[in-house]
Amino acid sequence: MSTKAALSLDELKSLVGIKAPKETFDFSLLHEGVPKGAITEVIGNGKTEFALALLAEHPETRVAWIEESLSVYPFGFLQRNVQLGRVLFVESGTETCWSALQVLKAQVFQIVVLYSESLGLSHLRKIQLAAEKSQAAVLWLTPESRALWPVSLQVQVSRNVSYTPGDEAEGLTGQVLRRRY
């Protein structure tokens, strides 16, 4: 690639307005870490375990867990070494985007987990801007890949079939499908 083309790409990126995340949460299941101030899309079997593993590795963080219809089982958090006292659960219904913006604006939560299939491009853009301002890491768990541009990192989680039940995180692998920074 010529220098002229590389410069054009940088100019394009700055025009679009997505700033490269400077900091990440270290994560044993993801070599690159999870970027702060950006959205990470997580797909595949074991995505909730993946999110829990990140929370367990960062016990100092406060977390907001937002789902349209809450199906997450809080008791399972304790078994995965995630203290419930640091997690705010929100059943948002149709107000997932609004709820995410409120928790991000509060600047109290370092990690926000969203479980929603109905977030569109404009919603994600608003969430991405709010995340950038608050420097929170947003994990967006979806059943299938959406590959929308406000997402900075897209991770496919898969379960190692031969793992022994007991340490669920051990059986997971995260593969980066797309990175925009």
Binding site: N45, G46, K47, T48, E49, L52, R62, S71, V72, Y73, P74, F75, G76, F77, L78, Q79, R80, Q83, L84, G85, R86, V87, L88, F89, V90, E91, S92, G93, E95, W98, S99, Q102, V103, A106, Q107, V108, S158, R159, V161, P165, G166, E168
Partner: protein, 427 residues
């Protein structure tokens, strides 16, 4: 004793409200006809006189009260200094006060002219200042000026012993604002602008009593034309957490009123806006820790809770705590406090649980549920769980089902029965 006098340069309807807000600075407040007195001698460890002056000026601005402030060692002197200070550019002291100040020593809380005759006589004899009166020989006072003169100087000598009249804040806190017809207020933003000032003053008064708000009501009165169906619109708001911040309340109000006005716009211009504190609780007396942000974070968290609950509904934003029960759906509870103790050791639970277990068919080596089929690769269990006997729970045998597609299901059957139920998913 150290007394601050807030002397009103213009009559104001917000005097009592302002006095209630001053309770935050000192518990000893008294109200005169045109002045408010605050005893701040006991607060010298909390703030200096300079800080106090700045805080009072800020409060005066917020209540839109025009006043002068003076400090002295007793009520009448503070009142006299505040009243007569503007007349001179130099800083006044007690001795420089004009002779007319004697009247204030006789009656600091109520304006009277009981000493008008005595003061007139003293003026006529060339006495100009309070100091001139104080140096007069006391034995000659009665013969020259009458017994009133002796009483007047007695008030000056014992000014510090003056009893304080009792002041108690009113039980109801209502702040209201009339709106000029010419402004034709019908939109959200100007209404919120008006509400901001009212909420601010209501919270200041509440804070004076050491309280935080837990429920309040907003009322908007429209011009009452014959076509207006609802001239009075009101919204009652109950908060999950006590709140003391104007911004938090305003953001909740914005959501509520915006939603209401979108569905049902105002039919005519607003004439009056009211805010009433319906319920409050004692706030914890605490000082901000300079070295940690804990209090700030706790307040931000509570504000988020309040907003989410207001918009989404009760119980939709919560924390969770573990409860000692073997029945999975009763093993946790919603809470608003932190609690993490896990008393019982159990096999790993799934992270996704259905609100209500659903029937799932087991046909040979397959599980079938709503057009979805899983081939079983491994069946782990059973784990037998039974609930509380008084709930008449049946025993359940739970299985962790590993499937060839990679999904892991958590299913159970009732003890002795063949029917299976899908209860959760290991995601």
């Amino acid at each position: 004793m150290r007394v601050a006098c807030v002397y009103l340069t213009q009559p104001s309807p917000a005097v009592l409200e302002f006095a209630e807000a001053c309770l935050r600075l000192t518990p000893q407040v008294a109200i005169g006809e045109r002045a408010i007195f605050l005893e701040i001698g006991g607060c010298e460890k909390l703030y200096s006189e300079k800080t106090f002056s700045l805080r009072i000026q800020a409060l005066l601005k917020r209540f839109m009260v025009s006043a002068r402030v003076a400090l002295a060692n007793d009520i009448p002197t503070a009142l006299a200094l505040a009243k007569y200070q503007a007349a001179t550019s130099a800083a006044l002291c007690r001795e420089d006060l004009p002779i007319e100040a004697l009247q204030l020593y006789a009656s600091p809380f109520k304006q009277t002219d009981s000493l008008a005759k005595v003061i007139g006589l003293m003026r006529a004899l060339g006495l100009r200042t309070l100091e001139d009166a104080l140096v007069l020989p006391r034995k000659q006072l009665a013969s020259r000026f009458g017994k009133e003169a002796i009483l007047a100087l007695h008030y000056v000598d014992f000014a510090q012993s003056l009893p304080w009249p009792r002041f108690a804040p009113r039980a109801k806190i209502i702040e209201a604002s009339e709106v000029d017809d010419a402004y034709l207020v019908r939109e959200l933003e100007p209404i919120l602008f008006l509400l901001r000032g009212l909420v601010d003053r209501a919270l200041l008064r509440l804070r004076g009593q050491g309280k935080l708000v837990t429920a309040f009501e907003v009322r908007i009165f429209q011009e009452n034309y014959s076509t207006v169906k609802q001239p009075k619109r009101s919204w009652s708001i109950e908060l999950s957490f006590p709140v003391g911040s104007v911004l938090s309340l305003l953001s909740i109000l914005r959501d509520r009123i915006e939603f209401a006005l979108q569905r049902e716009p105002l039919e005519s211009a607003v004439t009056r806006v009211e805010v009433e504190i319906v319920n409050s609780v004692l706030g914890q007396g605490r000082q901000t820790d300079f070295f940690s942000k804990k209090e700030q974070e706790a307040e931000s968290l509570q504000a988020v809770f309040a907003r989410l609950t207001e918009r989404l509904g009760e119980g939709r934003a919560f924390m969770a705590k573990a409860v000692e029960s073997y029945v999975p759906e009763r093993s946790w509870q919603k809470t608003y406090a932190e609690s993490d103790r896990l008393q019982i050791r159990l096999p790993l639970r799934p992270l996704r649980i259905l609100k209500k277990p659903q029937e799932i068919q087991k046909i040979d080596n397959y599980f079938v549920h709503r057009n979805k089929k899983w081939k079983v690769s491994e069946l782990l269990g059973p784990e037998r769980l039974s609930g509380e006997w008084w709930m008449k729970d049946q025993e359940r045998d739970y299985y962790r089902v590993k499937t060839e597609s990679g999904d892991e299901l958590w299913v159970y059957s009732l003890s002795g029965a063949q029917q299976y139920y899908l209860h959760g998913v290991f995601d």
